[in-house]
Point group: C2
Chain length 351, copies 2
């Protein structure tokens, strides 16, 4: 169905009907000039926002709309968890070009709702409008936390341990894989103009053995489990952020805002087997991918040295180094013992 048939209000009605507000702090969702929230007594409010543009942040050639919706929500929830807070609500704004049908947007929304349900988050408002070209998605997430629980980027202190959750570089490798298969498809189409429809119908991208990489790229998960495990273990990170632009870039943020240096050990950086195998197949340096790939949505945090025993009992967290005095620099210690100054080579959407 064409979106023009429904119009703005019709489409909004269709997308937002049956939205069940789960959070006790949601008083009024979609349907007035504003959403109305009732913050839990004593909490502070966290706000983060993200704008995703077709052709810059995602390629609909290989990203299914449902996955896109899911991921667009997850990356915002990840920012709330990275403050050691709990997400409660999101708003969703969409600008949609004519190539999309009502069913397409329902797919996108289904992915968003799935991500929200998983994290008990309400969709409380937004804006739906048209765009001349492509799709734009703007999400704002709102969370809450008790003041003493909130973790900023600037609290890392000398001798603190540097920790990361999960493993790094897999999402970036998943993107390389998708790009490779897209290139194969494009070249097959170009080489056989006569039966291009056959290729369109029959083309099967080859992802075998690399399913995990695809999942990390297409369906990242915000690490609420880590936040919960830390709370349960009584560990309060001194600084924290999520890894969206690459470990290197994020480490530099923590160090510069905390006015400290760091020493990170290459052999401690957690990697999945598939990440290493794919890097070898593509003749890329796996450490570079893990340091600069980005889109991991894992948590990077520092803890007092006294929590060393406690952190080792938490599954899926690894200590990769420690915090030093600022004048010692931000150093990567390689497998062979050589040392390099870390550089932020993370993804720069404006370059």
């Amino acid at each position: 169905m064409e979106i023009a048939e429904l119009g703005e209000f019709g489409l909004i009605r269709r997308l937002t009907e049956n939205l069940n507000n789960e959070s006790p702090s949601t008083l009024k969702g979609v349907g007035d000039d504003c959403a109305v929230l009732n913050p839990t007594e004593g909490t502070q409010t966290l706000v983060t926002t993200d704008l995703l543009m077709e052709g810059v942040h995602f390629d609909l050639m290989y990203v299914p709309l449902k996955h896109l919706g899911y991921k667009a929500v997850m990356v915002n929830l990840s920012d709330i968890y990275a403050m050691n807070a709990t997400p409660r609500q999101i708003t969703v704004s969409l600008a949609i070009s004519k190539k999309f049908t009502v069913e397409d947007i329902e797919e996108l929304y289904a992915g968003m709702r799935l991500a929200c349900e998983k994290h008990h988050v309400d969709i409380v408002g937004g804006d739906t409008t048209s765009s001349l070209t492509g799709l734009a998605i703007s999400i704002t997430a709102i969370g809450e936390a008790m003041p003493d629980d909130i973790v900023y980027r600037d609290g890392a202190r000398e001798t603190d341990l540097i920790c990361v959750s999960g493993n790094l570089g897999a999402s970036y490798m998943g993107l390389q894989l998708l790009e490779r298969e897209k290139a194969v498809y494009d070249s097959q189409i170009q080489n056989s103009k006569s039966n291009s429809q056959n290729i369109k119908d029959d083309f099967q991208p080859d992802f075998s053995g690399y399913e995990y990489l695809l999942e990390r790229q297409l369906k990242p998960e915000a690490r609420r489990d880590i936040i919960e495990a830390l709370a349960k273990a009584g560990i309060h990170p001194t600084s924290m952020m999520d890894i969206s632009d690459g470990l290197s870039s994020e480490l530099m943020h923590i160090c510069s805002q905390s006015k400290v240096g760091c020493r990170v050990y290459e052999d401690r950086i957690p990697l999945d087997y598939q990440t290493a195998a794919m890097a070898e197949e593509l003749n890329m340096n796996v450490t570079t991918c893990a340091l600069n790939g980005g889109e991991d949505y894992e948590l990077l945090f520092t803890i007092p040295l006294t929590d060393k025993d406690a952190i080792e009992k938490i599954e899926d967290v690894k200590v990769i180094g420690y915090i030093t005095k600022e004048n010692l620099g931000k150093m990567l210690i390689c497998r062979d013992g050589s040392e390099f100054e870390l550089k932020a080579q993370g993804w720069n959407p404006l370059k």
Copy 2:
């Protein structure tokens, strides 16, 4: 300066340096995974968001970037006031194509900051990224109010008086004027290919006598003054919203959500002299423009009949009709006494 020279972080630093957080509820603005807000005790939180796309919502051929930034903020603040609440913070996300320079974005931001300063609102976060074509602006505004002060759309009751602030249709007429002068310019360029540079340099659009219409289109003001005057007079509206899509469309929202009807009198609809003159010049029906033009950002609200004397003392507010039983319909009573069912013909960005 090209934006690529600065990169994402450099541009953000440049735009957000010297941002002074004024609101006591702003604990942490730009610079971490999230902004951190401390809601005033006992208040509820209001959230509204808007996504503006170049070519759909604005035409940079005749909208200066500073005005665009100012308006983009104002329309969000207007939504907060329309709940009878006070705006405190905004986040600003921008997607920028290559045609824009650093100076352009600084102009846009200067307009945003001006609007914020006027209303004591802090810019606490956002996202800055690139776009393949044109500019996208997504703003989320956050406000607060004591629970009993918040006014929804669904509280209008039979015999309530229907009020509007300011005057209607002027912004729409301003847009017609801008479109007309753009068409004149385009035709001059087309008719004289040889010296088009001269025309580009020398063309002077003719806005004389219609400056107020331009101001209403390019520099709308959110009506905090009306909210304050109502509070001072002890008037608590039973329902309220701001007029962004046209009086007709908004009246229908209030009536359907409140499950009531209305009678609105054509001769009571407030018009500026310039709006009427421009409508005559363009051979348009001025009432249609006032009912359906949109972008007025005036307040539409209902009050108990007992507040009749009090409302008449408030400057720049007019009673245009009253609320009836639902089964009596939503009626416009024309100057000649004839009656018409109101229709929402407001601007539909998806049609």
